[in-house]
Structures are given as structure tokens and as C-alpha cells.
Amino acid sequence: MLARLRLEDGESDDVVEKLSRIVDFVDQLQAAPTDDVLPMAHPLNMSQRLRADEVTEIDQRDFVQENAPSTEGGYYLVPKVIE
């Protein structure tokens, strides 16, 4: 599935049941008249600020990889991907 979530046995019935209630609940939006209304993606009407093109980051690989479950030779490891 798209969300890449595995549900435990017995969990999935409950999830499906609750999801359908949530979807029913949000379905009340359908009644709202929204012709000619612009969708709102951000609370403030601002535009993107731009950053100067400068290298500001230093190599912190070894420090950062202390959090990684599996690494070797500087790479993050995952089960072999067959292309």
C-alpha cells in the first residue's frame, strides 16, 4: 500500500472501521459552496524568501550516522534492491 504501513493482525478491522467513520465525518465538507473560492495552502500571504548560493554545511557524516541502524563504508544500508 502507498503508506508503507503494516498493520498487526486484528488491528486492521478496527483501523478500517475507524477510517470509514473519519471519511464519513469529513464528507460534510462536500456540502459547502466553494465555487470561485481559491484554495488556501498557507495561512499567511507571503512569498518564498531566497537564500544566497553559498556552501554553509560541513561534513558531519560520522556524527550523524550514529543514529543510523545500519551503515558500511559511509553508506546507509538497506536490503538489496533488485532493479
Binding site: A41, L50, R51, T56, E57, R61, Y76, L77, V78, E83
Partner: protein, 479 residues
């Protein structure tokens, strides 16, 4: 290719923008670093970090838009393209979807019949590159290197206006040339800085509706583009002619086997769930910004080509070759301006001798061992009859080997052409005297023998006599 079928091709070209830092972070974009040493917290998709847009990528995208006569959007929006893959650390790629920064552009190529052809550019949008997976170095694992993650890309999408693999390559070369002229990309195809996906379909000639297309992913050389498309065209025609149907799918070109094959494994239900990235705000550009970018536009290949024809009197085909790269055109202009020789002669030398040496050594014209001013010096000596064209080639090779300037080599090797009529006359006299039989035959009408006498004189002078003078004196003496 069967005349019954019409081929329809559209290209999506991914150009890496030549910035110092990444599109949304301050990590370096330099190529070839140790794995993950240029992947900062933003590139790694760490919890809590946020993207901030690099000003330079916006400027570069706008520059490209103006160069292809496109609309530079006053408002563009970044969206998230959601999918899971290990080289995509956030689980989404930040890209532009509904509102790209560049739309409605065009450029012109030569079609298969040599006519000028317009190719529409649907859009060009900014996005971040993904990392790389390494599959061969580890026994049961793939290794993920995220140095490339977050490198800025400009994806240039053409209209399905291309009708053959050759046209597709011509279009791709033109884009390649433009991005390098603009200095927004190094265009390095080996390093993946310039690559494309090709959408290919076929339909019976005359049919309005498009055929089902296949997308060939990740083509990283002009040769592969041509071969992959040609293979794909034949494959599709064969499928249809055998009564089958072309499947809409993604295919991969295998250059070793010279074939495309389906990548269905990676396909699954492709639902990218695009939505506006709430971490980034709309990019808003005003007219002043766009005009400031316009002021930085260099002369582009088409304009330069026209000028070369008009100003230097070059053949159109030569002007086109010379203007493929800005460096080569600049080189040519220096030579043409400095030398007293004919501008077409300068073009011949660059397209001929110089290019073949550069190709052989696999280097760019900027790295040429003969600078433009030095080549101009050599051509000057041809123009003023100090040396002949043939001797010039010898001097050219010596210059390439680092023996010095044209003048130094001519001097050192004693290659100066003999232009003293008196000296030439005495040699001519001696040659005629040594070959009385041939002289008599010539005089009796066998004028072809002039070549024989020229050859003899040149042999005597070691090639240094001015050929025109030799001709003239011989004719006079043999009358």
C-alpha cells in the same frame, strides 16, 4: 522504418544546475565526494529540518526561460511528489507540478530534410535530484549515498513535436548547447548532469490521435538516445504489426544489448499524491527581476550563427558547427578577428585540423594546446605567403607539440616559403634542363605535364616555393 508509420517523440531533459550549494540546503554540490559527506541534515530528511530555496537556481531557470522565448512565471509553486524509495530520503521529492517556473517556450532545429523546424517547450520546472543506490558493493544490501540528493535540476519538457530519433538528438543537442551558453549547467553527461527520458509512440501516418507511448528512462548520451529511440520505434511497430498493443510503461535502455526493456517491477500503482509543499511559499518574481536576468543573457547559438554568416561570410553549415559551443565560437572569433587571413580559412582550420586533434585527445577547446592567438599567427603566415597550406600543417603539428609559435617554428625549421622570383627561376631553369623530353612533350600540347614540373620544383625546394609563383614561372619558361 516503414513509411506507413509516423513516430512521435517528446523529451524530458534533466539538467543539473551549476550552483555551488544545493537547491534547498547549504551542502556542496561538488561531484565525486566520499559517500554521504555532502549530505547535510536537510538532504538526509532529518526530523525538524526545513528547505530554503537557493536564489541562484531561480535566476538560472529564468535565464533558461528567456533564452527559449518562454514565459517566466511571476508565481510558481513547489509541490511534493510522494513515493518511497531508499534514495529519496524524505519519502517525497520537492518538484514543481501545477505552476512551473517556465512555460511555453520553443526552439528551432533542422529536421531530417534539413528544413528549419520549431519544437515547442511545454515547460521547465525546478526540482531536487535524488541520491544514488549502489547495488554491487555489498553482499545482501544496497548502499545509499545521498550526496546527490538535493542537487538542483531543471527538467525541460518538450512538446511531442519530434518525429525521428535524429530530430530528438538534434533537439537535445540544441538544449545542451543553450544551457552551456547560459552557463547554467556544465552539461557533463558522464557525471549525469545532463540526461533525458524519451516518450516514444507510433501511429499510422495521417492519424490524429496519438499512439500509446512508452517512456525510456535515464538516457545519458546522445548516441544512446538515438539508438534507444530507434530500437523502441521498431519494437512498437513490430508489436502493432503482429496484432498486439503497445503497453504504456516505463522502459530502460540497455546499452550493452542495445535494447529497451520493461521496468514493470518498479512501476506498481504510481500515485504520487502531489500537493503544494507547505514548507515552501510561492516563488514570486517581479518584472525588475526578470529584466535584470534578461540583461545577463549572452548571444545565443542561433543569433551567433546568423552573425557569423553575415559578418564573416561563413557557410551556414560551418557557422552552425562553430557555434555549437560558446567556447568554440569564442575561439573562432578571436582567430578570425586577429588574423589577416580569410575568415572562412580560419573556420576550415578549426572545424578540420583543430577539432580532429581535440577529439583524438578527448579535450575541450579551452584546453587546446594551441591558443586562438597562436592559430591566428599561423594563418597570418599562410595569408602573407610565408608558408603554403601544406607546410602550415607541419607547423601546426609542431605547435601542438609545444615547439613554439608559428614564426619560431618556421624560422627554426627553415620553412619560409621561397618567394624570390630570381631564386625560383633558376630552380625552374635547372628542372627544365634536366627533363628535356617532358619539356618537349609539354610544348607539343601535353599541358597536363605542368603538374610534373611543379612537383619537381617543389621537391627541389623542399616544398617551400610558393606554388602560385612556381606555376606562373613554369608556364612562362615552357612557352
Amino acid at each position: 522504418m516503414s513509411g506507413h508509420w509516423e513516430v512521435v517523440i517528446g523529451l524530458e531533459i534533466h539538467t543539473q544546475l551549476a550552483t555551488k550549494s544545493k537547491i534547498f540546503s547549504g551542502a556542496s554540490t561538488a561531484y565525486g565526494a566520499d559517500p554521504n559527506t555532502q549530505a547535510c541534515l536537510v538532504d538526509l530528511g532529518y526530523p525538524g529540518v526545513l528547505p530554503v530555496l537557493n536564489a541562484e537556481v531561480v535566476r538560472m531557470a529564468a535565464k533558461f526561460g528567456l533564452a527559449v522565448n518562454a514565459t517566466v512565471a511571476r508565481r510558481s509553486v513547489f509541490a511534493r511528489k510522494n513515493y518511497f524509495y531508499p534514495d529519496l530520503p524524505k519519502g517525497y521529492q520537492i518538484s514543481q507540478y501545477e505552476l512551473p517556473i517556465v512555460e511555453y517556450g520553443e526552439l528551432f532545429i533542422r529536421d531530417d530534410e534539413g528544413r528549419e523546424k520549431r519544437v515547442g517547450i511545454t515547460r521547465a520546472h525546478l526540482e531536487e535530484d535524488a541520491g544514488k543506490s549502489v547495488h554491487t558493493s555489498f553482499a545482501k544490501s544496497s548502499g545509499i549515498d545521498l550526496n546527490r540528493a538535493g542537487t538542483p535540476l531543471l527538467e525541460i519538457v518538450s512538446e511531442p513535436d519530434l518525429r525521428s530519433a535524429r530530430e530528438a538528438v538534434a533537439y537535445m543537442r540544441k538544449i545542451h548547447s543553450i544551457v552551456r551558453y547560459l552557463e547554467i549547467s556544465d552539461g557533463n553527461m558522464q557525471e549525469g548532469s545532463f540526461r533525458c527520458d524519451a516518450n516514444v509512440s507510433v501511429r499510422p501516418r495521417g492519424q490524429e490521435e496519438l499512439g500509446t507511448r512508452a517512456e525510456i528512462k535515464n538516457l545519458n548520451s546522445f548516441r544512446f538516445v538515438e539508438r534507444a529511440i530507434n530500437f523502441e520505434i521498431e519494437r512498437q511497430i513490430e508489436v502493432i504489426e503482429d496484432g498486439g498493443e503497445v503497453v504504456q510503461e516505463t522502459r530502460l535502455y540497455d546499452s550493452d544489448k542495445d535494447e529497451t526493456r520493461s521496468m514493470r517491477s518498479k512501476e506498481e500503482a504510481n500515485d504520487y499524491r502531489y500537493f503544494p509543499d507547505p514548507d515552501l511559499l510561492p516563488v514570486e518574481l517581479d518584472d525588475a527581476f526578470v529584466e535584470a536576468v534578461r540583461a545577463t543573457l549572452p548571444e545565443l547559438p542561433d543569433a551567433k550563427q546568423e552573425r557569423f554568416v553575415a559578418h564573416y561570410g561563413l557557410k551556414a553549415a560551418d557557422a552552425e558547427i562553430l557555434t555549437t559551443s560558446r567556447a568554440q565560437a569564442d575561439y573562432y572569433e578571436v582567430v578570425a578577428e586577429k588574423t589577416s587571413a580569410n575568415a572562412q580559412l580560419a573556420a576550415n582550420w578549426i572545424i578540420g585540423d583543430l577539432s580532429s586533434l581535440l577529439n583524438k585527445e578527448g579535450i575541450d577547446i579551452q584546453e587546446s594546446r594551441i591558443g586562438a592567438a597562436d592559430l591566428a599567427g599561423l594563418l597570418d603566415r599562410i595569408a602573407d605567403n610565408t608558408i603554403s597550406g601544406k607546410i602550415a600543417k607541419e607547423v601546426f603539428d609542431a605547435m601542438w607539440s609545444g615547439e613554439g609559435s608559428a614564426d619560431q617554428i618556421i624560422e627554426a625549421r627553415g620553412l619560409k616559403q621561397i618567394t624570390d622570383s630570381g631564386a625560383i627561376e633558376s630552380i625552374v631553369d635547372a628542372v627544365i634542363e634536366a627533363n628535356p623530353g617532358q619539356a618537349a612533350e609539354y610544348r607539343s600540347g601535353k599541358e597536363k605535364l605542368l603538374g610534373f614540373f611543379v612537383g619537381q620544383v617543389m621537391k627541389e625546394t623542399g616544398g617551400k616555393a610558393n606554388p602560385a609563383q612556381v606555376n606562373q614561372i613554369l608556364k612562362e619558361k615552357l612557352e
